[in-house]
């Protein structure tokens, strides 16, 4: 009798542990959220500086050949392999992206236009640009786009002959520095952002893999109050 109870108890615990693993791994797991809202008061027009980089690979995950964004964590001073970040509502956000990845022509050249940013421009190595023609040369690696805010910024790339950084997060190697600013909504919410350049190498039309995976080429900007 005692043996049967023990088996039953063990089976119950095994099932409970399995369920807990699924909940924790699939529903509560995932990339961390980098907090850029800490210490800033919402709706005050606070100026927030977000620092990112996009790499030709990421050597810190189980998909080392996937291109990926990284976000700098201001609290720890380290790069996080994530595409989730939070900013205060009603603030002025300036995003700086260190572009280490090589070029891929846009599938729709329309996304070569900068929209939704202050002045509808971005600054590539401090030079203002409003459109980049990705068919005219090796010049666009990705885009940073928040569809709900009409933000779309083509991410410039180093030249075709550049020897790209091989270890992520990149700390050296040829890259471009691109900045742009936009205002966050006054109300809290979660805003999807994504890359629109077909950079998912090895997937049909380049739109699979990292393009469809949070933590690589798409994520969310959480606007908090």
């Amino acid at each position: 009798m005692v043996g049967r109870v023990a088996v039953l108890l063990a089976a119950f615990l095994a099932v409970a542990a399995g369920a807990a693993f699924i909940v924790i791994h699939w529903f509560l797991g995932g990339p961390p959220v980098v907090d850029y809202a800490a210490g800033a008061r919402p709706d005050t027009g606070a100026h927030i500086h977000v620092l990112m980089q996009e790499d030709p690979q990421n050597t810190v995950s189980t998909h080392p050949d996937w291109v990926s964004y990284f976000i700098h964590d201001p609290a720890s001073g380290t790069w996080k392999h994530t595409t989730l970040f939070s900013v205060p509502a009603g603030s002025e956000v300036t995003i700086t992206v260190l572009g280490y990845d090589g070029c891929t022509p846009l599938r729709n050249p329309f996304w070569g236009k900068v929209t939704g940013t202050a002045g509808n421009v971005a600054y590539v190595d401090a030079k203002p640009v409003s459109v980049i023609d990705s068919y005219a040369g090796c010049n666009v690696a990705h885009t940073f786009s928040i569809p709900a805010l009409n933000v779309n910024v083509p991410m410039a790339s180093p030249g075709l002959t550049a020897t790209l950084c091989g270890v992520s997060p990149c700390t050296s190697g040829p890259h471009v520095t691109e900045t742009f600013s936009f205002r966050t909504p006054r109300h809290p919410g979660v805003y999807v952002w994504q890359c629109r350049d077909p950079c998912g190498g090895g997937f049909i039309d380049g739109f699979g893999g990292p393009m469809q995976t949070i933590g690589f080429m798409t994520g969310t900007m959480q606007v908090v109050s």
Binding site: N108, V192, F203, M211, T218
Partner: protein, 327 residues
């Protein structure tokens, strides 16, 4: 158990009764119970519920769909009420009484009831088939995609397009619709603005996976398939805002693939189109020439750029035909 049977062959009343008298009485009672309910329900649907049925009356296709929904609801309500009335009548009249342990009479079928059921059902279904076909033709495809060569076009006067309508190309891509206006220099924009009272000819396509363009309040729903020009018509009839959703599961952010649109006056539309054409001139210059299908892999400039970047596979595609290599 009280004697009871199917419709039109009710229980034998107590005492002698001429054959069929009970059947007629039950049938008449059910009919008299059903008739006022059916009339009331149809009046309610027609006058009260109908004007609020989706998708509204913002555009011709939407109004046609709404009137179709009203008609079908008015046909369905009496049928449903007949079932419910019959069910209620059977419960009330033919239920088992306390102390009644007898069996009911054996059933041997009822030709009149069966013939009526088959006949009425056939008439309703065939009539709806004819009605649906006529509605599809007379409503210029009823807002649905008709493929690249539509046979039901609006007889609108005008120049420049095969239907004389405003041409708008809808381009689905993960995860946003963009819109090209070929009659205004071919600019592409994320805004969908349409003039009131003018036929619109949507050319729906995709540049990556399959999507579905669903302009809800306009009554338009058309598949967006890569390499396919899917044409749908509607005519906005009221000013206002409408919503566009993707109605085909298309990837991670399918649920976020929506945008608003607006129907404006013809004069406002002309001003908007002229201003947008100028505003987007810098990006319009680098777009491929307007074409009814929009396959980037056959755009010569793109192929050259891909070859230059060293990422082109066979046939000008991004990756060799053997791909995708799944993880």
């Amino acid at each position: 158990m009280a004697a009871g049977t199917a419709a039109g062959s009710g229980p034998a009343p107590a005492g002698p009764d001429p054959a069929g008298a009970g059947e007629a009485r039950h049938g008449l009672r059910i009919f008299l119970l059903w008739l006022p309910l059916a009339v009331a329900a149809d009046l309610l649907i027609w006058l009260a519920l109908g004007p609020h049925l989706p998708p509204g009356t913002m555009a011709s296709a939407a109004a046609n769909q709404q009137s179709d929904f009203v008609l079908m609801a008015m046909l369905a309500a009496p049928v449903m009420l007949f079932v419910l009335v019959y069910f209620g009548y059977a419960l009330a009249v033919w239920r088992q009484r306390p102390g009644d342990e007898t069996d009911g009479p054996p059933l041997h079928g009822n030709v009149r009831a069966q013939a009526s059921f088959i006949g009425i059902s056939s008439v309703i279904v065939l009539a709806l088939a004819v009605f649906g076909t006529v509605e599809l033709i007379s409503a210029q495809g009823a807002g649905a995609g008709q493929g690249p060569d539509p046979i039901w076009k609006p007889a609108a006067a005008g120049q420049g397009t095969r239907s004389g309508a405003l041409q708008v190309q809808v381009i689905g891509q993960q995860w946003k619709f963009t819109y090209r206006y070929p009659q205004f220099g071919g600019f592409e924009t994320t805004q969908l603005v349409l003039p009131e009272g003018q036929w619109v000819e949507f050319h729906v396509t995709s540049i990556d996976v399959i999507h579905s363009f669903w302009a809800y309040q306009l009554g338009v729903k058309a598949d967006a398939n890569p390499g396919v020009d899917n044409v749908a018509f509607t005519r906005p009839e009221h000013l206002g805002l409408f919503q566009v959703h993707c109605a085909e599961l298309c990837g991670l952010w399918h649920g976020a693939m929506f945008n608003g649109g607006e129907v404006v006056t013809v004069a406002s539309f002309q001003r908007w189109a002229a201003a947008t054409r100028i505003q987007l001139a810098d990006v319009t210059r680098i777009l491929p020439p307007y074409a009814l299908t929009y396959d980037p892999t056959v755009v010569p400039q793109m192929n050259k750029a891909m070859v230059k970047a060293g990422i082109a596979g066979a046939n000008g595609y991004y990756y060799p035909p053997g791909d995708p290599v799944q993880p």
